[in-house]
């Protein structure tokens, strides 16, 4: 051992100064090379693909359908044939990451040519001055008149007169209900027509204690009691399922009730939040009252839309609210990402939102297409965008995604006319209303989503009994926060 240790200590590098210097120089050179390689290895800006001399148009889209990129490529196939000089590169971005990615793109200039924008984002992104004004082009696709008014309202900042984002598809919602349960209880679609009849229907379903077995068969009365005793898998169906948390839809589900009661979210000059007004509170109290009256189980309030829709498909609820895309998903087999095998999938119908004291309103969301001003090929980008917003492309895309087209003329297609369920959504577009397209909407929406989520905590009773005053208090807090954003925005706009 001693000999071995001596041998190690006696290595030339540690003993002889000259050798050590030589070695240390080698190490220095090695480290220098390492640094050079490290610095050279830092990513450069991606080279644009110009393999065949084609003009490359990059598009960012969100997952709008089960196979987002393949589906859009399919929609664009005819365009590609007719425009061989344009190469289209589609990039899919997740909804969760889209907001930050798009805002970084808008501010940094490293952006795609065309980008899908959620309708509620348009005002904010447009305020950053990153989008190409499209006023000179829109006559080619029929202008404002060709589109559904509520969808066109989201094409640019309210009152600016500048169009920056063309409506691509709309997200319009309806009431999905179980036909078999309605038939069993002698209910019809008409029983969902007004707030009063809607509430009475929920009450009737609740009191009937409708029971479903594992095969989705419906039982009421004594039959139901017997099956509950015999079959441990049998369950009582809840009248309505509504998501309460962790979901952007929380606010989208609230707002039709506020509008139907004659209230609104913001004042007409868009400087103050008014959803704590008497009218708005009427809508909020009606909607939250469904839970407080026991017509909606508090269990659903910790769920998001995806969980609620899965529960509906599995036969947990008699009704729930969702967008038109579920019609598509309930026709796709499970193996392809759909719910065709679900208990509710063959036994459902759709109704309009109930009419309130001030009328009937459906929330209008969806997505628009915008061109970033940093594009090298604005004409080609517009050509692609115009194609995607044409009647044919919108119908084709609607068939892929299940969302409704934003063009009025697309609804004349038999695809929407002949299918009774899609026809309901076509009718719902008449009552469509969208959020104000203003720069501050981007920050307002997360506040409302969180605050209304907290409101559901109170309604669910986790803090004790929930009164009208409790709800008003929570809404006032949301109003205070939104007003703070509006004030900051107004100060910035003045600057």
């Amino acid at each position: 051992m001693i000999a071995m240790r001596t041998k190690i200590v006696a290595l030339p590098i540690f003993k002889k100064e000259e050798n050590f210097m030589k070695k240390s120089n080698i190490i220095k050179i090695f480290l220098f090379c390492f640094f050079v390689i490290f610095l050279l290895g830092c990513p450069k800006k991606k080279e644009e693909k110009v393999s065949t001399g084609k003009k490359v148009i990059n598009i960012w889209i969100m997952p709008n359908s089960p196979k987002p990129i393949v589906d859009l490529e399919d929609v664009l196939s005819d365009f590609k044939k007719n425009n061989p000089d344009i190469e289209i590169v589609i990039t899919g971005i997740d909804w969760g990451a889209a907001w930050s990615k798009i805002t970084v793109a808008a501010t940094s200039g490293v952006a795609p040519d065309i980008c899908q924008l959620g309708t509620t984002w348009v005002g904010t992104i447009a305020s950053m001055g990153a989008l190409l004004p499209l006023n000179d082009y829109i006559h080619e696709i029929g202008g404002a008149d060709a589109f559904l008014p509520a969808a066109w309202n989201t094409s640019g900042i309210e009152g600016s007169g500048i169009v920056v984002a063309i409506p691509w598809f709309v997200d319009v919602r309806g009431i999905y209900f179980r036909k078999d349960i309605f038939e069993k209880l002698g209910l019809t679609k008409k029983d969902l027509d007004t707030w009063e009849s809607f509430e009475a229907t929920l009450k009737k379903i609740k009191e009937a204690k409708v029971v479903s077995d594992k095969n989705g068969n419906i039982y009421v009365g004594k039959e139901a009691e017997e099956i509950l005793k015999k079959d441990p898998t049998a369950k009582i169906i809840e009248p309505l399922g509504i998501p309460g948390k962790n979901d952007w839809n929380v606010i989208h589900n609230f707002v039709p009730w506020i509008w139907s009661a004659g209230g609104d979210l913001l004042s007409k000059d868009r400087k103050t939040a008014i959803f704590n007004s008497k009218e708005a509170m009427k809508g909020i109290l009606f909607y939250t009252g469904l839970v407080r009256k026991g017509l909606v189980s508090t269990k659903t309030l910790e769920l998001n839309t995806a969980q609620v829709s899965t529960n509906f498909v599995n036969g947990e609820y008699a009704m729930y609210f969702d967008t038109s895309h579920m019609v598509k998903y309930m026709s796709i087999p499970q193996s392809e990402g759909g719910f065709a095998e679900g208990v509710a999938s063959k036994n459902y119908d759709i109704a309009l939102f109930p009419k309130g004291p001030a009328g009937r309103y459906h929330f209008f969301g969806g997505s628009n297409l915008a061109i970033f001003k940093y594009t090298k090929y604005p004409k080609e980008a517009w050509k692609v965008l115009a194609y995607l917003c044409s009647k044919e492309a919108q119908i084709k895309y609607s068939q892929k995604t299940g969302f409704m087209p934003a063009r009025k003329d697309a609804f004349n297609d038999p695809y929407f006319e002949k299918d009774p369920k899609r026809k309901i959504f076509k009718e719902a577009t008449k009552y469509g209303r969208s959020y104000p397209c203003i720069p501050s909407w981007g920050p307002i929406e997360p506040i409302l989503t969180r605050r209304l989520g907290i409101l559901w905590d109170y309604v669910a009773g986790v803090y004790g009994s929930c009164t009208d005053e409790t709800i008003k208090q929570q809404i006032d807090m949301a109003v205070q926060e939104v007003n703070s954003v509006l004030k900051t925005t107004s100060e910035n706009e003045k600057k």
């Binding site: 490290f38 948390k245 962790n246 989503t449 969180r450 989520g453 905590d457 669910a460 986790v462």
Partner: protein, 309 residues
């Protein structure tokens, strides 16, 4: 003369400097430059309108700090006290839980028994699970209707008649503390076990001869001998938990909504205000305030532990 000797010393130790250079460069690029930019940002008015100007955005002095700390109408201030309260409870809960469970299991695994290695490997399982999976998994475990926790409480143990909500209201805090403890105790256990194996058996034998019982041995030998390990773990846990973010995001909607009043931590509050409400400067100011507080905590730690090692 002094300069010459310094240069001489640097030359002599150039070899060492060359080795630490990559780390220094990395620290500069990854830590110090962004931190400096953060400090600058906290004095600017950087929002959706001025973001393209970046560091040329208008200078507003200490206004962002005022908004964060004293302006009751500022959105970041509205939820700040709740976030501070939650972060303190969360940090104490997770740090205490992690170290306690880590210590108990380390003491168990320090004994010789058949299958010790297998048990030790299995115990490391939660630590190697990604936070993403931990968040999703526990979101199901806490679920009001189908969650395992409520099933055990209501059907197995029968101690609760009405199943509680874990993802709503004040219970949210437990819903994020428990998964974090579950994920990080194996690391504490590993470190403490390594420390336990360095304590000479002679110390325990001498204590036994002197008539010390197990508790006295633990308190007077194990705890002081492991002080360098548990005090370091304490510091690492405090810092990590104050800056905790992932578990909340993963359990509550991936940024859509965030949990209610009892699940909002300082980092989720800062993130929401910075990147969803576009108040980058206020977010930066809140981060700097938090950093200063953490420097204070680290200084206290140094005072209490480091000097006495």
């Amino acid at each position: 003369m002094k300069i010459k000797s310094t240069i001489q010393e640097i030359r002599e130790k150039s070899y060492a400097y060359m080795f630490i250079l990559p780390m220094v460069m990395g620290m500069l690029i990854i830590h110090f430059i962004p931190m400096l930019i953060g400090i600058i940002m906290s004095f600017l008015d950087l929002n959706q309108y001025t973001l393209s100007k970046y560091l040329s955005a208008p200078f507003v002095g200490f206004r962002n700090y005022f908004d964060v700390l004293f302006n009751p109408k500022s959105t970041i201030r509205i939820g700040l006290l709740q976030a501070v309260r939650n972060t303190i409870i969360y940090t104490i809960g997770v740090t205490g839980g992690t170290l306690t469970i880590g210590m108990i299991v380390a003491l168990m695994l320090n004994k010789n028994f058949i299958g010790r290695r297998l048990v030790r490997t299995l115990f490391l399982f939660p630590w190697i699970v990604p936070t993403y999976v931990t968040g999703l998994l526990w979101a199901f475990i806490w679920n009001h209707e189908i969650g395992v926790v409520n099933y055990i409480l209501t059907k197995v143990l029968n101690i609760v008649e009405k199943p509680p909500f874990w993802l709503m209201g004040p219970n949210t805090l437990w819903a994020i503390i428990v998964p974090t403890v579950w994920r990080y105790w194996p690391f504490a256990m590993l470190m403490l076990l390594a420390g336990l194996q360095t304590i000479p058996d002679e110390l325990y034998e001498s204590a036994s001869i002197d008539g010390a019982n197990e508790w006295q041995k633990f308190w007077h030998i194990t705890i002081p001998s492991l002080k360098p390990v548990w005090s370091t773990l304490l510091l690492v846990n405090l810092i990590t938990n104050v800056y905790s973010f992932n578990i909340v995001i993963m359990m509550f909607g991936h940024g859509a909504g965030f949990p209610g009043e009892w699940g909002d931590l300082l980092m989720t509050n800062i993130f929401r205000n910075s990147f969803q409400l576009w108040q980058y400067s206020k977010g930066a100011a809140a981060s700097i305030v938090l950093m200063i507080c953490m420097i204070g905590i680290v200084a206290i730690w140094y005072k209490l532990f480091r000097e006495k090692w």
